[in-house]
Symmetry: D2
Subunit: 299 residues, 4 copies
């Protein structure tokens, strides 16, 4: 079992830390919110009153933070956390951030003699709680292998996308495609319904045909088609529009830098931005179905 | 076993007719091309030198034609074929046409006392040959049940989408979503590769994540990722860009009529139209990957 | 002065007919609505109780109707109006309809020995009242020259786009570009304001720079920038979203037929379709500005 | 007359510096390329062998540089040029850069007691040579007034967009709209031609109608319509696709930061990115017309 410093225990980080505790690790927890720390401590974590205290004596540091700026500030600039981490420890940053932020962290950590991987997750709050997250890792083969058992304590799929930063790129690409497919699914369902089809029947047909995708399988955006999907509980829970917008912003920044054409992804970004401005930012991202709906239908 | 008149035995219709013959039916074949007729006759079909001759004495009429105009012309207007079909026969039109053309055929056939369903297919030339097509049916419950055994002689999935015309709508919705997903997949792969990822690794990650779709499962657009996909044989075979454009045109016409918003589908239509103008109309539709590629990469 | 039969005297046709009366013509008026007829009669028109009565003894027939289906039904099919029009008369159809409807009318009229042009208008209700409409004409040189003086009684610009149907094509192309520019202007203004600029200052800069367009000149979509624009009166008056959607639908149908790529026009169609579904169909088309605005800003 | 340090004398900066010389100013010139410096010296400039030497004793510093990173590096970080500029001098940065880079420069300059404005230009190489550029200025009223006479030595329009950074925002918004309109114009022309219209006739009609924009006025993208437009000389000269992509990238970055929806601008970015990948990066941006053209038409 390892000693692990865990920084950032919000909606995602909190249940992840608990799963590590349940797997038998010693987990030292820090967050700017004492309440969030307390929740993990109640499950067996050890509270730390600073990031430095959290990493004291650990083998592994895991962070789950809201942005690349925060990650760099904590580890490198204002926070200087890298200096406090024990020699030889492995740093696993699970935040979803820009690839260049991930590479900056990697360079700084390597200078300091620390191993580091980027390991953004997918699977949402539900996956964090159930321990079924997917981790998409960027880093060396050796560091990937070293991190894998710990990641499997928090999830069920661990992918190795490439060198440092590659985990972020792969996640960005996946989520851009996810956004495109969700919107494409929503507009196909609405087109069918507008022309007299039943949303469930059409969903079933497309699910078994070449239109099949993850949304049709597990996350149908039409209310009532899937009992357990956010669409059937007024688009609450799930993956918020605001978070999808963040990921799409990262995708667009990457595309600008690499001079890549992303017509579908770019359109998805604008539609989700408009959707957020229309007061839907806190709803699940499958609520884009409402964008296509007949006026007042669900209001 | 039934006596079946089969009209239109090209790339799709030909192997479909052969599968009916192999199932033990008597199949009377007509096509404007004698060569195409001869191919089916060589497998046991009976040649007819007119559509009227093809439907003489049959229980079932199946047609596979290139457009709604041709369907209406054959059955209703110039061809008056409905008049020649025996009382009580079932007409199965497998052409992909506009829903209003399908409904026009249904109305005219019902006046004449004939049962009729629209049953457009997906699965392509390979599926037609292998007998693994999917049929998406519009028509009454009774006519659907009556057609089902015969359709299962040519395919393995038969869906009932709704009343007459609904088969066409469902197919149009599915193929619009398919186009969106194929383009979305192509641009996600290119964005990843532009940022240092390996296309196979990224494909594998997305396939197991929320970006999963039919293209990633069976039809990866990046050359070399899937040995048997059109992308790995220079985008030959498969489902042509020109045919995807036809289906997207039907989707856009339906959306105009129903005042539906289809931003992703509309963009897919324009990108495939531009792709066709760039001399790619005869390639498989996964060749849209080339649209995103670095200059000269595969030339 | 000419004897003119005028069919369809609604928001547009009514003031157009009055301008013909004011120019000294004898104008015989028919509309399905007696009230609309009465309004023109009050200004000096002669009421007709059927289309046939309206064209009795005239030199020129002018129609302003809502769709190509109605135009064909009136002149050719159910209405058989072409048969009632005096030999040698000139038919001027000012409706905005699909080019193929215009060509069908032309063919049928020519068979009957009548001259015909399509002459869709731009300039809106205000232009119809002020006699400042623009006519975009499709037809032969001779028929164009013949129609020109009468058209100039109702407008100030008369363009000859080409043969029959070309007037419709040109109008469709213009309005598609107009929609693209209006949306482009709205999103540029919002982007500027979101980043601290004043909408009037930014409008003025773009108006004098390469972003200049008709909307910035005469029809600014941001409330308050132009006192007389629909944006400054809650987007009332002007050119309704529903009508823009109709024209964009005609543009998309033309593009499907000619296999043209129209990515911007297609996106405009979907955004206006979504805007209409969001209960804005009766507002002026510059209300698309609301699509981009910060939540609740103007509600 | 003023003493002016001018840094960056390429395609744009070179002729701008010459116009200052012609207006009677003393201009001290630096560029990484000695050849570029020599060209300006041949017209009466004074060569400087470092940025520090160029600003020695000057009243005004003008820079024209390729990116925000270069601007920050020169003035603030590696270059420390701000420290060498005489007290009280006015810094005019004419580079097109991100607003946040402009604001960073402003903050750093103000700390040092220097006045600074951002003054990106439009009008291209031809405008730079002819002294007809448009400057879009961000900065205080006082600094704007101070800069104005000097800017008018190089251009004919000077706009005050707002505080520091506002010049960049306004330029970005303008160029995003320009890109949208250019593409919209190109697709409208192609749609018309595909349906039988003449590009010149259609251009003339739209120019006098609500489709009017700067491209139709001065920069028609269809070859042969305007003798002096880049389209009529194989899209050489003018404003390169690569530069438009740079500006669209800045627009997208601004939109991501401000959470603005820019569907048309985003689509323009992707179409220009694809166009650049198709080996058109060095052509004028009106060459997007080729994207829409019939296969092989102009090859």
């Amino acid at each position: 079992m390892a000693a692990i410093g865990f920084i950032g225990v919000g909606n995602m980080g909190g249940p992840m830390a608990v799963n590590l505790i349940n797997a038998g690790h010693r987990v030292q927890v820090f967050d700017l919110s004492d309440d969030l720390v307390a929740k993990v401590v109640a499950k067996g974590g050890f509270p730390a009153n600073s990031p430095q205290a959290a990493v004291d004596g650990v083998d592994i540091v895991i962070s789950m933070l809201p942005s690349g700026e925060v990650v760099e500030a904590l580890y490198i600039h204002q926070g200087h956390l890298l200096e406090a981490i024990p020699d030889g420890a492995l740093v696993i940053d699970c935040s979803t951030i820009a690839p260049h932020n991930a590479r900056n962290l990697a360079h700084a950590a390597e200078k300091r003699g620390l191993a580091v991987i980027d390991a953004p997750v997918s699977g949402g709050v539900a996956g964090a709680a159930a321990g079924t997250l997917t981790f998409i890792v960027g880093g060396s083969d050796a560091n990937f292998e070293r991190a894998k058992p710990v990641l499997l304590n928090m999830g069920k799929n661990v992918f190795h996308a490439g060198q440092n930063g590659a985990g972020q790129i792969a996640k960005i690409c996946n989520n851009m495609l996810l956004a495109v497919q969700m919107i494409g699914t929503a507009e196909a369902l609405q087109l069918g319904v507008d022309n007299g089809l039943d949303a469930s029947v059409l969903s079933d047909i497309m699910l078994k045909s070449s239109g099949r995708n993850w949304a049709l399988e597990l996350y149908n955006p039409w209310p009532g088609v899937m009992e357990n999907a956010p669409a059937s509980r007024n688009y609450t829970g799930g993956f918020q529009v605001d978070l999808m917008n963040k990921d799409l912003g990262l995708a667009m920044e990457a595309a600008i830098k690499s001079k890549s054409a992303t017509p579908m992804g770019g359109l998805a970004k604008s539609l989700y931005a408009a959707h957020a401005r229309d007061d839907h930012g806190k709803l699940d991202f499958s609520s884009i179905q409402k964008f296509f709906s007949l006026s007042k239908k669900w209001s």
